[in-house]
Amino acid sequence: MRRYLSVAVGPALFVVGAVVVALLPRFMGEFRLLEFTFVAIYVIALLGLNILTGYSGQISLGHGALVGVGAYVAALLSLGRPGLELYQLDPPSWIPLGDGMRPVFTIPIAALVTGVIGFLIGIPALRLGGVSLALATLALAVSFPILMKRFSEVTGGGGGLNLNLPETPFGWDISTRHWLYYEAWVTAGILFLAAWLLVRGRIGRAWRAIRDGEVAATSSGVNPALYKTFAFGVSSAYAGAAGALFAIETAYVNPDTFPVSLSILLLASAVIGGLGSLAGALFGALLFEFLPIYSQEPPIFSFHFAEQAPSVVFGVFLIVIMLLLPGGVAGLFRALAGAVRTGRFRRRSDTSELA
């Protein structure tokens, strides 16, 4: 009986979460709604990062750049050639841009394109392996804004590109912000389920085997090169989807929207939220959105900290979590649940690599 219960906990929590997300807009204004739309976008990005770092054990400091790739793909596709002509941009004719499309359709395309790019980056990065991968992805994060500014005939350069806010389809009686909120959360929900199916199956088992010992995994018949590159591709596709939603939501893309700090803070949030746990992506996303706001203006004390305060808090959090609680926030909850069940508090994380 107890076993069936513990199997049911995950789906039950997912349903509860979905209901909360569906009802939340009734209790908040447009601004809060915007914040929670961004939470959904960060959930998607962090799911991708968690697949890469938490499950397959590879570090990426370049996910901000991949989110940027997704955002630019979505922006370019939804504007299309006619839209870009208004900016007097003249992209080379070999780029299949089309005549502009509904923003929502750009999400899967952006995911696919970013996924393929990530896969291609993954191949040489694999050869570097381990820490060099972190370095290569960091280099990607630093190069991305430079590249976007340099190839301004396609990207609009430092001025960026403005998009039109989409209108609510099907004649639904909700505002555009509400539509975007649901669009982001439905995408996040679908991608959450997809990630869950991936990591609990054969592929996820292979990833964890590689993470916990590449040699042992190889001798059990797992091809590390294949699975690691695949993880990079999947993870990039998630980042691309997040980027597309980001572009649609803000209706604006600009090289400096995707600085190095975005990539670094994404990794920090993924770690603090909890590596090797899909729920960790949710905690990480909440943290990513709200920590900067509340660490600058704490809710109880009437301080006003400098705008650098969030970085300091993030950095210190990251170190403390690594020292004391390798499973992150998700690990803490799991340990608490375990303590309730067994009466013993164990600080272990699911990621035995990290413990």
Partner: protein, 342 residues
């Protein structure tokens, strides 16, 4: 566990000093030959090519490269002792450069310079003791994440304390130029080159000729064996971090006058230094220095003579070159192949 593979080479049985001397001379001769060849190619392709202009670019490149080399050496130093790439190295350097900036309001340049180095040393050792020590025996990925945490925190802290506005940083060298064999060289670039290389040579002498240096090399070689013969390994690691921080501080103070001081001063330089260290072979100090100098010259020549790259695409271009080198020679130019024992 990783152990260096035995080199499948014929032992020429010359002493280690002579061998490194030969290697160094060979490297310099090779580099000069490559540069002359490249110059000859450029005389054909570039319409407005002048040898003195070319030489000037090389000197600027060496000067920039010396900064990369210092920071790359710091990375290698920590990599060899703690077995981890320190992502916070650049931010540590920026932070100490800010300290130097504050000190220079109260004293003249060189005392402030020296005092900064002392502070950097203590700070670096303290970071190892307080932050790195507790995760020492945890997997690599954990230590890397901790150094990334340090990066974020230090970046925020330096912006918080000194505010993120761009600051001018004094230079000890005069603004003039001198002419050597028709090549115009600024004192600024020459000074940076001399200071960085002098630091590197001093460090090399420390490791080569002092007992403490010998002990530190022993720790880098095998921590267990060193512990068995009574070395206090923990303190040696802290010393390594301290020395790395000193190198970083030198790089930061040399970079700040031309790049201007702000919290992100060392970010791009850190990536070049990573690239330099990996190019030279991540476990090779000589490789790090050579890698830094090569990279500095390379980006200057590429940026000047290849129009497509220009000023903006230097970093991506450098990384592409790095990638190509690594695909041909994964262990880097001077690194050792690593075999894994299961």
């Amino acid at each position: 566990m990783a152990v260096p593979a035995r080199l499948p080479r014929i032992d020429l049985s010359v002493g280690p000093v002579l061998r490194s001397l030969l290697l160094g001379v060979g490297f310099i001769v090779g580099a000069v030959a490559v540069l002359v060849l490249l110059g000859l190619v450029l005389t054909q392709t570039e319409t407005a090519f002048s040898w003195s202009g070319y030489a000037q670019q090389i000197v600027s490149g060496l000067s920039q490269g010396a900064i990369f080399a210092s920071l790359a050496l710091a990375l290698v130093l920590i990599y060899r002792t703690t077995d981890v790439l320190n992502f916070a190295q650049g931010e540590m350097a920026t932070f100490t450069t800010f300290i130097a900036w504050s000190l220079m309001h109260h004293m003249s340049y060189w005392p402030a310079f020296a005092l900064t180095l002392v502070i950097a040393f203590i700070g670096g050792a303290a970071i190892e003791r307080i932050v790195i020590r507790p995760v020492e025996h945890r997997p690599e990925i954990v230590i890397v994440i901790v150094t990334i945490g340090l990066l974020i925190a230090l970046n925020g802290l330096s912006g918080w304390i000194w505010n993120p506005e761009v600051k001018a940083f004094d230079s000890p060298f005069s603004n003039g130029t001198t002419e050597i064999a028709g090549v115009v060289i600024s004192y600024q670039e020459l000074g940076v080159l001399v200071v960085c290389l002098a630091t590197v040579v001093l460090l090399w002498a420390f490791f080569r000729f002092t007992t403490l240096g010998l002990v530190m090399r022993a720790v880098a070689n095998s921590q267990d064996a060193s512990r068995l013969v009574g070395v206090r390994v923990g303190w040696m690691l802290a010393l390594g971090w301290g020395l790395a921080a000193v190198l970083g501080a030198v790089a930061g103070m040399m970079a700040a006058p031309s790049q201007f001081l702000d919290p992100n001063l060392m970010l791009v330089i850190l990536i070049y230094s990573f690239a330099a260290a990996v190019l030279g072979g991540i476990d090779s100090p000589i490789g790090a220095v050579a890698g830094g100098l090569i990279l500095g010259v390379l980006i200057n020549i590429l940026g000047t003579y290849v129009d497509f790259i220009g000023g903006e695409l230097r970093l991506p271009a450098a990384l592409v070159v790095l990638l190509i080198v690594l695909l041909i020679r994964p262990q880097g130019l001077f690194g050792h192949k690593v075999v894994r024992r299961v």
